[in-house]
Amino acid sequence: ELKVEQNPLFLSMQEGKNYTIYCNYSTTSDRLYWYRQDPGKSLESLFVLLSNGAVKQEGRLMASLDTKARLSTLHITAAVHDLSATYFCAVDMQYSGAGSYQLTFGKGTKLSVIP
């Protein structure tokens, strides 16, 4: 069974500081997603990482993937209050020969950026 673990689960940081969220997964996969969820809202796609060594950046967020270590990181640079949200990583995996995949999510990291 695929397990996806995120840490930390809760993160309180000051504006302007840097921090990294980690996502470990238990089974080989070459595709990992990062989503953002605001309170009471749905999930917004941030990044899809397609191969080992992939790095993507958007604004103050940068995501990377190491498939050999089964690890993805989401790095936050010079945090601002607008980044406060819950961040999920999700790994897709083929479960049958039908060529279909399903996403397995971590529990999420609730980020609070304090002025």
């Binding site: 999930l43 039908a98 995949y101 399903q102 999510f105």
Partner: protein, 114 residues
């Protein structure tokens, strides 16, 4: 371009009742997946529909069933509701490449079972 839409937004039911939730995929998408998100947890995969058939199913009991219509919209049905079924139910749509394209999520239906 309309994104993924879901109805209703909120629903209150009592134990033992049945509920139907609805989803319309993003324009051009014909694969629909359903997820259950309990409070404080990540979404859990329920099942996926493609070409009006259930293609993949997560670890959910048979009380959870679904349907996909020719216009690609989908329904999630839950019978014999339990208190533990209270959650946010999310629908996601994607292109039909085995589901390996990015899934776009709808706003969700928040179900409360009393």
């Amino acid at each position: 371009d309309a994104g993924v839409t879901q109805s209703p937004t909120h629903l209150i039911k009592t134990r033992g009742q049945q509920v139907t939730l609805r989803c319309s995929p993003k324009s051009g998408h014909d694969t629909v997946s359903w997820y259950q998100q309990a409070l404080g947890q990540g979404p859990q995969f329920i099942f996926q529909y493609y070409e009006e058939e259930e293609r993949q199913r997560g670890n959910f009991p048979d009380r959870f069933s679904g349907h996909q219509f020719p216009n690609y919209s989908s329904e999630l049905n839950v019978n014999a509701l339990l208190l533990g079924d209270s959650a946010l139910y999310l629908c996601a749509s994607s292109l039909p490449t085995g589901g390996r394209e990015t899934q776009y999520f709808g706003p969700g239906t928040r179900l409360l079972v009393l």
